[in-house]
Symmetry: C2
Subunit: 341 residues, 2 copies
């Protein structure tokens, strides 16, 4: 007798997989497609980039899609399902039957993700949206859309990658042992073999360095990024980053945002992580003891695994909320992600 039989419930996700779209098809979008492909509970049916889109209700084939994007610059060239379009997101929304989208889009410009959310609201589409955005100011723009999303019948989960996301949720859990939270400290290590596979992500990291901002980092040519990385030996050291973990933990009632700090070390020339990614939650228990819980990610897990896995776990949780008619905006600190088989 297994647990489902004891419980007398059927998991409908086993019968009819969740139809998933991925918007953005750079490093993160491609990893998302690879994460999705073996899953029985989800079916990857749609992808879009800024030049086109592809949709197949029976499922897209990941190797073809990636080879097409990498050789021709857009999934719109995919045969026979691809379409080239300068208006790819609204066209895909109209053309495709999709239960939930993962927005694996560039974080820059900072207003981009909210503008995409507005396109979904305007389209009349109903379903689940998940992003893995990083910046506090970008998540705040999404918070401002809460009532519009709710009225539109959209369940939107924001900040659902690794950090913010998995580590924010771990901090929200760890906080439970304490009467008062003094400090949440997130320290990440990222190792990638080659920065050019993550051009947008690395520019976002550069934007956190002293002397740079979102605009100057985005305007850098590949040669300028390369020259910067040559000067630093491929290492980017980041402190006191503007990361949405702070607003998400404040919203969840755990602590004021100024008690949350995020920093890390990115090695752009080595897939080994320079340090183990972790979150440390320090607080006072009801007996007056000060202590620290720690959640540490295994070094062998990649940024792609720690972003895309949680993102789809939140997407599955979002489907359950949406099926109950619960719409609006939620963060990774408020919802338990569900494991996707």
């Amino acid at each position: 007798m297994n647990a489902d039989q004891i419980r007398g419930s059927n998991n409908s996700l086993e019968i009819s997989p969740v139809r998933v779209g991925v918007l953005g098809f750079g490093g993160l979008g491609q990893a998302a497609a690879r994460v999705l492909t073996p899953k029985r509970q989800m079916l990857w049916v749609a992808a879009a980039d800024h030049q086109g889109y592809a949709y197949n209700s029976q499922g897209l084939e990941v190797d073809n899609a990636i080879a097409t994007y990498n050789s021709q610059g857009s999934v719109g060239y995919l045969q026979p399902t691809g379409r080239l379009s300068s208006n790819s997101i609204p066209e895909l929304i109209a053309a495709a039957s999709v239960d939930g989208y993962f927005l694996a889009l560039p974080n820059l410009p900072n207003t981009f993700m909210a503008s995409v959310a507005r396109q979904f609201i305007a389209s009349g589409w109903k379903g689940v949206l998940v992003d893995a955005m990083k910046r506090t100011s970008a998540v705040e723009q999404m918070l401002a859309l809460t009532s519009e999303l709710k009225d539109a019948g959209i369940t939107y989960l924001t900040g659902c990658g690794a950090t913010p996301g998995l580590l924010t949720a771990a901090a929200a859990l760890a906080a439970q042992s304490y009467a008062e939270i003094h400090h949440v400290k997130i320290t990440f290590g990222v190792g990638i073999a080659n920065w050019e596979a993550y051009r947008a992500t690395i520019r976002e990291d550069i934007a956190h360095l002293p002397g740079y901002d979102v605009e100057t980092a985005r305007a850098m040519s590949d040669a300028e990024v390369q020259a910067l990385l040559d000067r630093t030996g491929g290492i980017l050291e980041l402190e006191n980053m503007e990361h949405a973990d702070d607003v998400m933990l404040e919203l969840a009632g755990i602590c004021d945002r100024d008690r949350v700090t995020v920093g890390g070390i990115v090695d752009t020339r080595n897939p080994q992580k320079p340090i183990s990614t972790n979150v440390r939650v320090t607080g006072r228990t009801f007996e007056g003891k000060i202590s620290t819980h720690t959640f540490t990610l295994g070094d062998e897990t990649s940024m792609a695994a720690n972003v895309c896995g949680p993102a789809f776990g939140y997407l599955k949780a979002g489907i359950a909320l949406h099926q109950r008619g619960i719409c609006g905006l939620f963060t990774a600190a408020e919802v338990m992600p569900q494991f996707v088989r």
Copy 2:
């Protein structure tokens, strides 16, 4: 501008605190009352033990209640609100206006918690129930009540202490990075200055030792427990324990129950933990890497803090579910606990 203002929502819990009852008033129930007392979002209004109960809609006073119980053996002696009764739970349910109860009752006999749940179902009371039960077989009895709880308008959260509870939820979160989970290993350290403050809990631990079971451990006199602890230097070493983390992670779709193991070391003569309590989740990522995420509790946090804090976090989350009309049975691995201020 704070996060709530950005979001445009009001937290109704700030206005009207959740009225909470605690059933059972031994070590765990007393700690629960102490955890509750400083919280603004919850008000401790009711307590019961097997000889009586106390209810005050304006809140119970924790020092009086504990002193009364410890000197006279029941909160029923509390003046002026206590009542002596051999049928304390049904009488309290009928007498009190309570939004949610924490069932800080003995885990033994193994059928006890389910029998209390049936009393709530029979009473017609609607609200939130939270337990911190440990054994797989006890949680399975609760799973069998899923549809009855749902029909009764009760939102029941089971296995919501430390382990199962906080560590099970951490395992469910950690699993998100992986395509497949190979092993979840929970190792706890508990240090208590004096076993007699946790007579029921220590007997439950003894029941896990080779040569003992639930019945023989429960039948032991205090002198027999003392003699056993004298032989072991106050240490109880527990391996392959029957802990409901296994069925809860199986239900959440994370892995089969035989991949979950729980063990630990209990020092009954030293409040220092003999080892740091932790959960290690080992799995395979979508790229084929094997790795392990680890969640470790700070040594200075007590069993009481790690059980009662999460229990009330789940109770608050249960209130939100109940307000949306979502009833039935949930485990700590399925719901994100909310931080209670």
